[in-house]
Symmetry: C2
Subunit: 669 residues, 2 copies
Amino acid sequence: MALNHQIREGDNPLITEEREKATFSTEALADELYGPTFAKRRRELSAAVLKMPELLDPYPHVFMDRPTKVANSMRKTVAVMEGASEIADITNRDEMGHLVCEAFGDDGFPLSIHFVMFLPAIQGQADDEQAEEWVHKAIQLQFIGTYAQTELGHGTNLRALETTATYDKNTQEFVLNTPTVSAYKWWPGNLGKTANVVVANAQLYIDGKNYGPHNFFVRIRDEETHQPMPGITVGDIGPKFGLNTNDNGFLKFDHVRIPRRSMLMRHSKVSPEGTYSPPVHPKLSYGAMIFVRATMIRMLAHSLLKASTIAIRYSCIRKQGEITRGAGEVKILDYQTQQHRLFTAMARGFAYWLVGQEIKQIYERIAEDVKQGNVDQLADLHALLSGMKSVVSFDAGKGIEQCRMACGGHGYSHASGLPEIYAVEVAGCTYEGENMVMLQQQARYLVKGVQKLAKGEELTSMLKYLGNNSNRRFRFAEAGSKIEDTLIQAMEYIARTTIQRVSARLDSLKESGLSDEDAWNENAVELTRASRTHTRLWIAVCFKDRVNRIQDPKIRAALQDILHLHLCYEVIDMSQYLLEGGYATGAQIAQVKDVLYKLLAKIRPNAVSYVDAYEVSDTELRSVLGRRDGNVYDNLLKWAQSNPLNNVEVLPAVEKHLMPMMKSAKSKL
Amino acid sequence: MALNHQIREGDNPLITEEREKATFSTEALADELYGPTFAKRRRELSAAVLKMPELLDPYPHVFMDRPTKVANSMRKTVAVMEGASEIADITNRDEMGHLVCEAFGDDGFPLSIHFVMFLPAIQGQADDEQAEEWVHKAIQLQFIGTYAQTELGHGTNLRALETTATYDKNTQEFVLNTPTVSAYKWWPGNLGKTANVVVANAQLYIDGKNYGPHNFFVRIRDEETHQPMPGITVGDIGPKFGLNTNDNGFLKFDHVRIPRRSMLMRHSKVSPEGTYSPPVHPKLSYGAMIFVRATMIRMLAHSLLKASTIAIRYSCIRKQGEITRGAGEVKILDYQTQQHRLFTAMARGFAYWLVGQEIKQIYERIAEDVKQGNVDQLADLHALLSGMKSVVSFDAGKGIEQCRMACGGHGYSHASGLPEIYAVEVAGCTYEGENMVMLQQQARYLVKGVQKLAKGEELTSMLKYLGNNSNRRFRFAEAGSKIEDTLIQAMEYIARTTIQRVSARLDSLKESGLSDEDAWNENAVELTRASRTHTRLWIAVCFKDRVNRIQDPKIRAALQDILHLHLCYEVIDMSQYLLEGGYATGAQIAQVKDVLYKLLAKIRPNAVSYVDAYEVSDTELRSVLGRRDGNVYDNLLKWAQSNPLNNVEVLPAVEKHLMPMMKSAKSKL
């Protein structure tokens, strides 16, 4: 009996022969990746969705123009919300998440901002009376909300937001206003055409004094007619690289009056007389950012593993070129270059996925602490997630593009699904904090760690390694079985020395007379690099611990191969830092490369089984190249033939423009 | 008088103040980049196009669905062909190229395959009588042709193509046939709906014997009706990442009979009796590939410089965050991280652009030699262009994405123009030979060089440096003014040692008993790396020579800053190879970084002037962020407001789906 559970009759034999080689149970690996209970529920939900045509697209959504895409997604939104209660536990975030993946794929769920940002904002920032008024209605979808913060001219720097909320004591109202074009709210998801209420961020003014940005609950479209409310200008910001189903919007307030109690008042308050009370714990606002970024890590990992699934499966169908002349064309996955592109991408995918789950648990633990007034670890987690969001979004994007290019020409077609996976995933480099800014945010925390160390202060456990001053050099040659410890020690060396070096460079520039801020900017590139090395180390450590906790020896062994590949790849990718300080020699780096190439060959027979175990359904994958059954070419032809450009044999524009042009050329002869 | 010629009244003062800082004449730099005569002609043509509304899009093409895009481009095609003769020298490839850039931007010109591949194929491979019959008609556009080689299941490996052309002696015809689904012709540009003739590549069979792939001239659509000819199935392959104006097509032959004289017979021939005569010089077929790849280098460079133009201009309009607290928000171009992303991308852009022009000249020189029967340098150039096509397409793609991300959220909008520049440019990693295959093609040539060296044979000038066995180490500290020689010597060291090392590893694997082919595959990743280091070296040398030949001292100095930045960046990017062999120390790499950071600061005041000198018109740029006048925000708002999703205030799907959903939620209360 084959260990891979995805073998079916009628499959392409080229992919069945791959599955028959599995040395581990793909179901057991799926249980490990999702937890056994949820792995089972995922399969049940995927099967149920197949029987609900109202959740599916009537034809490939990449054939639709934008208005059709948006309309289709609104239709499916209602279908999902109605159908979910029959097949899923609608209070279970994971189950609902999977259902949304099946129904919407990369295209995005029109209510995701409502549930992931708007609802948490009112839950976390409204006081009890306000929550009583709004939260239940939001959960029931009596209105659809979004979170309006970013402006046309202002992003990450909240202090510069221009929208104002001026308190009018006489009427006990706030007057919301958009004073300039650059103050238009810009980008909020589903603001353009969908949402009818928003939580809007605006500078609070009382008696001419600015109290900084605060959040306000505002109805922007009429409950009955959906027309914009008086003083409101709202619309869609136009097509984008990806996420075109989403009506990201703009919003202008023209002296819009809202009641005093529209300000979200759990933390800050304004009394009827106009007295302002500030929040007790300014750091509490980290909570929402941390939650969103922790969710992002898993989403980004998911995108990378979907891309790996498509490219690895297709690379066993596609044959091209001969390795041994006359021996016939080989599967492109037999080329070392292809294995190197795809297996390292897959390894990062598994690393990010499992680390993302660990972070989810850490977040839940810390959120409990915070409820009990303990905010100690919030700063640690906030810094780590700034770095991790940046590293994972960028490196996952690179991996997805490698998967796409590894599929050759067909990877470039929307039939592969890969262009859209990339375009959607890579937005993660920009939203929720631009990566360069985020990396520097974490760098501040790292530099502070070095300063604490210099003063002899205790470091938190995450930074303990900065104090390790062992002079030990790389011992790869002698390493034996504990390759992972050797490689992680090397990554500790890399992170420690890059952080120490940039801290020293900062100090020396300050001593030479530069202001703190100018010295920082002169080191900004090196600071982002140091930040990346720390994040990669943390991911590696967390991934290693997670893999080594696995009980089932075959599954542990299977993921250890992936772990070792990941560690070799990261160390080679950062080898200049090992060589710079003399920690390792060129010959030792060559040994790490040899181990990596051997791992590629070792992983090769199980490659399809690894991605099969991640269990992305064909419904969600939306990829002709990545189909479970491997029947690619016939389906590519069907897909192409059904595209709208083939609706007529001779396009009207050919008759109108090209045929007369050719005719006239002939008559000129 | 300001040295930047792009200052106009009404411009955003934020960009004018940048232009006023120019330390060189932007017009003089443009003359250097394009040659003075053509620089002038480009400006005249751009001005003329502005007065020809029929060449422009009636509204942003990113708002169009695919059928509208295709129709719009067919309309413009006729307008360009008709209008060109009034304003341009239609026999001048550069002038026509510029006109096409203005009218079509990244979207692609529907006749480009006709002119760049189909026409050269019949010019080069048809015999005199055939050329007499076809070439004039093709130039006059009596028909529109494309070049059909790639099949659904077969790409780079021509020997595996499945389409057959079987000679029937009785009727003196070839029978073209598509025996399987994987044999469908797939991907040829403008095959789907536009072209009515093709040059099709098929395996030639005579009396049951296969003579390999040959080219045939075939009419696929009726001259009068444009309906597919009997036995022909043809259509569009569907939407793609980019290039969606192009109706890349599929094509099936069902025993289609064509006359014997439809085979292109300049090099190979089939007599009426079925006797086959092979070509004299098999390498002659390199010519077309070399021509296309040489053209690609300039196109890819152009994309990178367009992206740099957009991102650098916008980075002087966008203000965000403070460097010194309380001093006000700064232009984002003042951040070192932003400079590092953008200036290194721009530097590679200028390097590729100028090197691309050098290659054009080398190609023209070698083409002359070939005409005189001298094919000696053809292999050198062919190898170099395989590597260069790969390195430039990939590194330019990375640079464009950095430009896009550096523009934050607005970079992700199609208003920036950047997503499309990337999606179109990055196709270059795949078409005309997949990059991993191309890099290995060059690697074969490099490894042969090492073998020749071992045998004491003479190396061609391009490979001479492989024989340099100086033990000299990096002398950066003592370098003084000749920084460029020091850095290029370092790059020579890198290329030489990576090639030598992989050659040695190949030999040792063969000695250990692996076949040549398996040993090659076990080294494939390292071979691609060696190939890249050689290409980067060659680009650097060529760029340096080009810059140092410049007469005008101010322009030479301006481009020397870019050259030095480029060299520092490449050396740092490959520093592990310098450190591995002990050529340089970590402290020396840190010195190179210091020089690079100083160059960023030095280039900063001229940044806008550098890209202004490249002179991409607003018409071609199609970017709200990159507008010459810097009036970004007002125009972003106008662009967004005019997008089709805002045609109605309340979308029908909101009325049909979302409003009833919210209403029913309320009634449940």
